[in-house]
Symmetry: C2
Subunit: 308 residues, 2 copies
């Protein structure tokens, strides 16, 4: 089942070189999340062929323009495209006032319910959860309060062993998939291990942008399949990274290595880098499984993609 | 001397078909004005090769997202590009709160002075004036208060007749250009008409969007060289135009005809029209000198362009 991320914008604050501000579309088993929403995100979604009204939730990390200025346009277009389903927006507490003011002055009365939730700036704090995925916060370090997001798939059912399926009465199948032993009508107990193979592992994706190097996040990122981490600068600009509270490619790779991530995806490239390949080259020295985000490209979440 | 407008966005509220939301760059003798600023305007400016920091003033007609959502991005990029010159923003009274709130929550401290001026919603009300151009308001009719803008070039000096230039002492030249007679040291008076040819006419440009058909504006638009008027719909959707307080192409053309405009430029095309040529075809039946705005195209302001 699908767990993939489409990177819609990979630039930093100043758009340049064909790169756009931060935005990602995450598809977790057909639940669509929009993560950050820089200016022009609706245009990027259109180019990626995404039906905006399938997006259930928007998550905003922080109140810098390159991460939220596209949100009003997305909301407005959802409205004009006839949305009726509720939209949930999770982000910093200030986001509510920014949205509500602009709806008020434009006299826009949305046709769909808009729910705005303030995100707690604490690693591990719950953001959202349902039967498919849970989302928790990651307390990033930035000039304004910035909260990343960890998406973890809900536990999957065990797989029924094909040859044994005939043995299991229909009413007992979900219990067996959940790991229970099978008790037959005559009292015979068939151990679960004889009927099922282990469930697929719970896949996880983490989004860390914008942030300075924050090693205290490593325990929360442990074993994540795909880590998106900002890499605004090369290590030679580490002082500038520290000052602006961004990360270098080497720092991003260090996070991925220490968290034992499956793969690392870099983004939020400074406009000074014509080709972000230099950032990847720096990162792979620390963490080999490193990829570069690119406008409109989709990346699978799951170790098999690389480690198979 | 240059007087020209570059149309950066020609779409209506819902971006589609390669059209973008409203924005225009007006160059009046190297004074640059940005008129309206829909989402993505900074990207359009970049594509048009415009140095954003040459823009002295931004004029916003009304508080619908497709006319102002790109403004924070433009301001932010001006800041990141090192602007130090003041920026003046003229628009509805609500604009100040929208800008100031977003600067505050993003903790952005601009490196340049930002002056925000509330525009009076009254035709003929002064907006701005200097030695090159005066800008006055046009009270449009829309669902929210919407104010168009009339740009009129300052009176030009008369032209010195080439063969007579030698007769005129340097100190007297500007007076002669302004129409005064020349008094020679011996007391002889040379009538101005013998020394000068008439000044170039004062060129004028009007921007009317968004608005329902508003014939009361005609006296203010009289003789304008170029009239930009929204044409969201065809006449067959006149009822929809009335309801949403937009104009049809025929109504736009009627305004141009009654105002005796030099040329008419149509824009703000509904996403339902794949090719806006149908709107032009409707308009030319009423007013022949009609052109279609197009992303990145530049149009000259001045009768000679068409009537020569």
């Amino acid at each position: 089942m699908r767990f993939e991320v489409t990177t819609l914008g990979t630039g930093a604050a100043l758009p340049a070189r064909g790169r756009f501000p931060s935005a990602q579309l995450l598809n977790v088993r057909e639940r669509l999340f929009l993560i950050d929403c820089g200016e022009g995100t609706q245009e990027r979604l259109r180019m990626a062929g995404v039906n905006m009204n399938r997006i259930a939730r928007v998550l905003i990390t922080h109140m810098h323009g390159d991460h939220f200025l596209g949100l009003m346009g997305v909301i407005s277009s959802m409205h004009l495209l006839g949305r009726t389903a509720p939209l949930h927006v999770h982000g910093p507490a200030d986001l509510r006032e920014v949205i509500e003011l602009q709806l008020r002055v434009s006299k826009t009365f949305l046709r769909f319910p808009l729910h705005i939730h303030a995100v707690e700036h604490r690693s591990g704090a719950p953001v959202f959860g349902d039967e498919v995925v849970t989302v928790t916060g990651l307390a990033l370090r930035h000039r304004v309060e910035s909260t990343g997001f960890l998406f973890r798939e809900a536990p999957q059912p065990r797989h029924l062993i094909k040859e044994k399926v005939g043995l299991i009465p229909h009413y007992a199948r979900s219990a067996v998939k959940e790991g229970q032993d099978l008790v037959l009508p005559d009292g015979t107990v068939v151990p679960n291990a004889e009927l099922t193979a282990p469930a697929d592992p719970q896949r996880a994706y983490a989004y860390c942008s914008d942030t300075a190097y924050a090693p205290e996040l490593v325990p929360f990122l442990k074993g994540v399949d795909l880590l998106y981490h900002e890499a605004t600068f090369l290590e030679e600009l580490a002082a500038r990274a520290k000052e602006t509270m961004h990360s270098t490619a080497r720092q991003a790779a260090t996070m991925a290595r220490d968290a034992e991530a499956g793969q690392l995806l870099l983004g939020h490239f400074s406009s000074r880098y014509k080709d972000p390949e230099v950032l990847r080259e720096e990162a792979v020295q620390v963490f080999p499984h490193t990829m570069l985000a690119q406008e409109g490209c989709t990346f699978q979440v799951g170790r098999s993609a690389v480690h198979a």
